[in-house]
């Protein structure tokens, strides 16, 4: 694999190089102090040492509220997604792995047209990171990426991972210096707490009872999760005999999620809470057995009551003492 060195001073030129592929969005700090992916106009906007964004890149592929059908003259028509060409610059490995997982869900046997329409207009540029207290990761997992930048002191080691990535690099030959030395880059990553759990042993963990007692069902863990993709579909008739059908983020923490005519699959808070983690660690068919937690740590960090699923797994697999929930949650998207 060809690797090239991009000196820090060439970053602006590199961003310009990306422009023909779409509007460049990258990690930045919003006015309200939240770290988010947003349009970038100069390297100064970029927060290269960010830990994680509050809302993951799924917002570009599965917007919170997404019209899917319109009804006019008694006829339903697809509502094609508004999908401009977009470059996502500076995604961490976990978020790239999350996109790879979402690709499996939404581009599988029966591709989702809205997702597919947005996905094909996306160019992904990854960026190496430093782990924080909440995240862990398994670099061996597949990641969706066109170019990856390993950060070092005075620049980046750039590696193409797709034909598009190769093409971008060939268009910017003057920017890259060939590198014969590997700058020291890698901070040790926190290993993932568990492999698969086909026997669902963690379901019996007594910690669930405590977690179910304190979970507020606020949904923050799922809203912030890069691989939580559940949605609710609702249709609103309009005043002119037409209507709109839309989908909106939903999750198993909410009561309606498990309700069907005449019953409820997950009556208790415990069932609802555990179901999310079951999905993360065990998967559903056809992705049964595929871990969908990429270890970004967002859920633990955003939870107002400090629920951290690593504790459940630690106890089950390593026989550790159950950790108590932390006294104060530490907030959402601020850069530490």
């Amino acid at each position: 694999m060809r690797m090239s060195w991009l000196p820090q001073g060439h970053l602006e030129a590199f961003l310009n190089l990306l422009e023909p592929y779409g509007t460049v969005h990258g990690p930045t700090v919003l006015e309200n102090g939240v770290t988010a992916l947003a349009p970038i106009t100069s390297p100064d906007d970029l927060e290269l040492k960010y830990r994680h964004t509050l809302i993951p890149p799924k917002k570009y592929l599965l917007p919170f509220r997404d019209p899917i059908l319109t009804l006019n003259d008694g006829c339903y028509r697809p509502a094609p997604p508004v999908a401009p060409n977009l470059v996502l610059f500076g995604l961490h490995r976990c978020d790239l792995q999350a996109i790879s997982y979402l690709d499996r869900v939404f581009l599988g046997d029966d591709p989702d047209p809205n997702y597919a329409g947005r996905r094909e207009r996306l160019t992904l540029v990854g960026l190496s990171c430093e782990p924080d207290d909440f995240c862990y990761c398994d670099p061996a997992q597949p990641a969706a990426v066109d170019l990856f930048l390993d950060q070092a002191e005075n620049g980046f080691l750039v590696t193409p991972h797709s034909p598009r990535g190769e093409k971008i690099m060939s268009e910017g030959t003057g920017l890259f210096l060939s590198s014969d030395h590997l700058p020291s880059l890698l901070v040790p990553l926190a290993p993932p707490p568990t492999p698969q759990d086909p026997e669902l042993r963690f379901s019996d963990n007594p910690l669930w009872e405590e977690y179910a007692r304190i979970c507020l069902s606020c949904g923050a863990c799922s809203a912030c999760c890069p691989t939580c993709y559940c949605f609710d579909v609702r249709e609103y008739p309009s005043l002119d005999h037409g209507g709109n059908r839309l989908r909106e983020w939903d999750n198993c923490l909410f009561k309606k999620h498990g309700e069907v005519a005449g019953g409820d699959f997950r009556r208790s808070r415990l069932d609802r809470l555990r179901y999310r983690f079951l999905h993360k660690y065990c998967g559903f068919s056809p992705l049964q057995g595929v871990t969908s937690c990429v270890g970004c740590g967002r859920c633990a960090k955003a939870c107002p009551v400090g629920i951290d699923l690593r504790n459940v797994l630690e106890v089950t697999y390593r026989g550790a003492e159950p950790a108590t929930t932390r006294d104060q949650a530490t907030g959402t998207g601020e850069v530490s």
Partner: protein
């Protein structure tokens, strides 16, 4: 041509804010008037006949007088669908905020300087008295919810409902969390969403104007706020501003 559905829009003890939501639909009003017959709307000066029947009655306000109760019963009898329109109708609302704190008769004496009428009712939600077919929450309600209801009535149905808390929309808008990041008394986790987190999006805490969300873990929100240093009485006062009837022990 199909008969236009007949609407009644009325208010009990309330500020008329919910009815104003209807008048605020400037863009939609011509279409609404074209599709519906708004035959009883005292605020808008149409008073209807005595024996009139309605396809739907949208009623705001809490029940707090004998007259309120009579109006509510009359509209219930006259309407196929009765819609609790706004937080007061659903939960008692602002008028009921001190229900638990002070004696009604005492309050009456100090405000009106005379003995209270016999049939004084502590401001209460509709469901204490009549069957309610649908409700629109909010103080005031969102225009979009009202338009969705009217559109659905035309289609012969009722709109789909949601049950996520304010936090869900708040997070999706990438707001800074006032509860966690700024240590403020935000009720978002236990309040019904649908307002697109109006208040937190402008840096103001959610005061709970849309009432409890169905899966609210009330006891834990209380515990969390106490842990974060808020005073129990302040929390209760804040929580009862729009909904007096919280069960503070509720976990499930």
């Amino acid at each position: 041509m199909k008969r236009k559905p007949k609407l009644a829009i009325a208010g009990l003890t309330a500020c008329s804010g919910c009815q104003l939501t209807f008048l605020n639909c400037e863009r939609e009003i011509p279409t609404i008037l074209d599709r519906f017959q708004v035959s009883f709307f005292p605020l808008g000066e149409s008073s209807g006949g005595d024996d009139e029947r309605f396809d739907a009655a949208l009623i705001e306000g809490a029940v707090s007088t004998a007259q309120d109760l009579a109006t509510l019963f009359a509209l219930r009898r006259a309407s196929r669908l009765l819609i609790a329109f706004g937080t007061c109708a659903l939960f008692g609302g602002v008028a009921a905020m001190n229900n638990q704190l002070c004696d009604r008769a005492e309050l009456f004496r100090s405000v009106y300087g005379r003995e209270p009428e016999k049939d004084l009712i502590p401001p209460a939600p509709f469901t204490n008295f009549v069957a309610v077919d649908f409700s629109i929450t909010g103080c005031p309600p969102e225009k979009t919810d009202l338009v969705a209801l009217l559109g659905s009535l035309l289609a012969g149905t009722l709109p789909p409902t949601t049950c996520y808390p304010v936090c869900m929309e708040c997070r999706s808008r990438e707001n800074s969390c006032l509860l966690l990041d700024r240590d403020e008394l935000c009720l978002g986790p236990i309040i019904q969403g649908g307002c697109n987190a109006r208040c937190p999006a402008t840096g103001i805490v959610c005061e709970g104007c849309r009432g409890p969300v169905s899966q609210a873990n009330v006891a834990q929100e209380m515990e969390l706020l106490l842990e974060r240093g808020f005073d129990r009485e302040d929390i209760r006062r804040r929580m009862s501003r729009f909904t007096p009837g919280w069960n503070y022990e509720q976990r499930d």
